[in-house]
Amino acid sequence: MSKNNLILYSCILIFGLVAPFLFPAFKVQLSILCVLIVLATTWNIQGGEMGYNSFGNILFYGLGMYLCASVQVGMFFPLAEWTESGGEKTFVHTPAQFFQGMAVGLVVAAIVPTIIAGLIGYSILGLRGHYFAICTLGLGVAAGEISGGIEIIGAGQGFTTPPFPDVGSLEARGEFFYFLSFFTLILTFIAVRSIYSTRFKLILNAIRDNEDKAEAMGIETMKYKIIGWMISAFFCGLAGGIMGGLVGYIDSTDVAFDGREMGVFMVLMAILGGKGTLWGPIIGATIFHIFKEGFWTFFLGWQYVALGVLIVVIVIYFPEGIMGWLREKYPERFGEVVDEKDRKAQVELK
């Protein structure tokens, strides 16, 4: 790690730690931003680095959300009665119960989607290109439709997650969720960064560039594809669990398995920032979140129209994203040596 990097990282870390006290009004927004960055970064593992464009990571996100909340409730109270009574009125979590439940719930929310990704990975990841994209889209929507028919987790009317217990301070809820999501973000960043510095990343890139050749070179592509997807699923589940507690209410198609919003957002953020780079999804998610909040506030009601237009514009005009654009503009910064002759020849070819 070079000296510049160290300074950058410590600046971000310090900013992250003091942000909720500097901008107390934006705590929830900052927590959502952390979750979005986690989602975009982990989407990028298989979407950007591996070349498997998935619309289905929302499956793990939603699963994590339901699992975390169900465990948190189910550890102390009967789950069926909780959902029937609309939750908070009949049963009250003590602070100790709440935090214990949250901790166990988050572990379950991270582990179970990982196992599921491993189990279905062999079947689903055998599909390539757009078949994979459509298949995962189908998985996400099917999960939403099916969970909307299951009574014990609230079916169509939704599931209220346990409200934050009274610990004496009004600010406690926001700060708790902010630090939870911020540490998840740090965990994700460290994990992804260390993955990207190993041979594993090169294998993923080989799969993206030419899977058949990678296989011919003796790489067990299926194994690495499944591992890549499982890493995504782990962090998506964790992010989902946190988001469930943050939002406080889980609906099958509008919050948990929301392919129309979160499922597209994570793809879009990664593409906006630049697929296949470490910093791309982070920058993309930050810009996207600021834009989105602007749209959501000023164009109330028109946000989906704006979102649709935004998707089309980004996809058509910025398919390489911000990092891709920077790379084209300043290749030297990215450690690429550009031969002047070669560049001229390419321009002439165009």
Binding site: R128, G301, V305, I311, V312
Partner: protein, 297 residues
């Protein structure tokens, strides 16, 4: 779970007939999907939203006192021009690109349309009442609304007309030539840009017809588009590109499957079962092909 459907044969007959009549409509939409996929190599996620838009055209004619069946003629005309417009604005920029780009771009169009329809027409489930009455079969045990028979008849009529048009007309030949080899067609003087625009327009027009028929027979709702896209995608991958009898057969098969899923699992799992079936079909085909070390292309 409810297995009453197997204990009373008449319910089985009812479900099969309903499914087949519904499946013919699916096949019409899937035909448009296969056309644009084959010619332009794009997958249009907004297909279902074009269908719903066509349905709203018929519904509005019904609201203004015109018989909604006329929508079958009006909707495709409007939708053709809308399709060409969408092509000029968006699709022509993604035609040569990676398929994923086209999926994502049309996903954006789909979200846009969904929301615009929600604003313009409201979030209610509506249907255009055609007053066609019903036909009773088998001692009044099987009830068939005439509107379903009408819609199946019109769908088949449009499909036949389109097949003949593709075989005989100049534009049809140009479309088929472009599908075979766009570059060669260009060299031989086919204006591929125009062909692409026309293909997308024809696809949108087919969606318009199907939508108008759906608004007469079933119900429409701004957010109902995506299941139609998935159904048509599924039909196309089961039948294969350019296999017309296959599209018709798998469309009807899907219709029957859905009716049975509706009876057995309950209506709330109907859409979910369609999406699960898509996943199962893709996984089945993947395992079948991987024995020969191939994959779906």
């Amino acid at each position: 779970m409810d297995f009453m459907v197997f204990q009373y044969p008449m319910i089985t007959v009812q479900a099969c007939l309903d499914g087949i009549l519904l499946g013919i409509l699916f096949a019409l939409i899937a035909y448009g999907m296969a056309l644009q996929w084959g010619v332009m190599n794009i997958i249009n996620i907004a297909q279902g939203d074009l269908v719903i838009l066509g349905g709203y055209i018929a519904y509005f004619m019904y609201l203004y006192g015109i018989h909604p069946a006329w929508g079958v003629i009006v909707a495709p005309v409007i939708m053709y021009f809308l399709g060409v417009l969408i092509y000029k604005l968006v699709i022509n920029k993604v035609v040569d690109r990676d398929l994923f780009i086209s999926i994502l771009a049309t996903f954006g169009i789909s979200i846009l349309f969904m929301q615009l329809m929600n604003f313009a027409f409201g979030a209610d489930v509506v249907l255009a009442n055609s007053d066609y009455g019903t036909t009773m079969l088998f001692n009044n045990n099987v009830v068939l609304p005439n509107s379903k028979l009408f819609s199946a008849f019109i769908s088949i009529l449009f499909a036949i007309c389109l097949v003949i048009y593709m075989k005989k007309s100049k534009l049809g030949r140009a479309i088929r030539a472009t599908a075979q080899n766009a570059r060669a067609a260009k060299i031989l003087g086919v204006d591929t840009e125009k062909v692409y625009a026309a293909t997308f327009g024809i696809n949108a027009a087919l969606c318009g017809v199907a939508g108008a028929l759906i608004s007469i027979t079933f119900t429409i709702h701004p957010y109902m588009g995506l299941p139609y896209t998935i159904r048509s995608f599924m039909i196309v991958i089961v039948a294969g590109l350019g296999n017309l009898p296959g599209v018709a057969m798998s469309g009807m098969g899907l219709g029957v499957f859905e009716e049975f899923a509706d009876y057995i699992l309950g209506t709330e799992f109907r859409i979910g079962s369609v999406f699960l079936l898509l996943v199962l079909i893709l996984v089945y085909r993947r395992f079948k092909l991987s024995r020969k070390r191939e994959y779906l292309k």
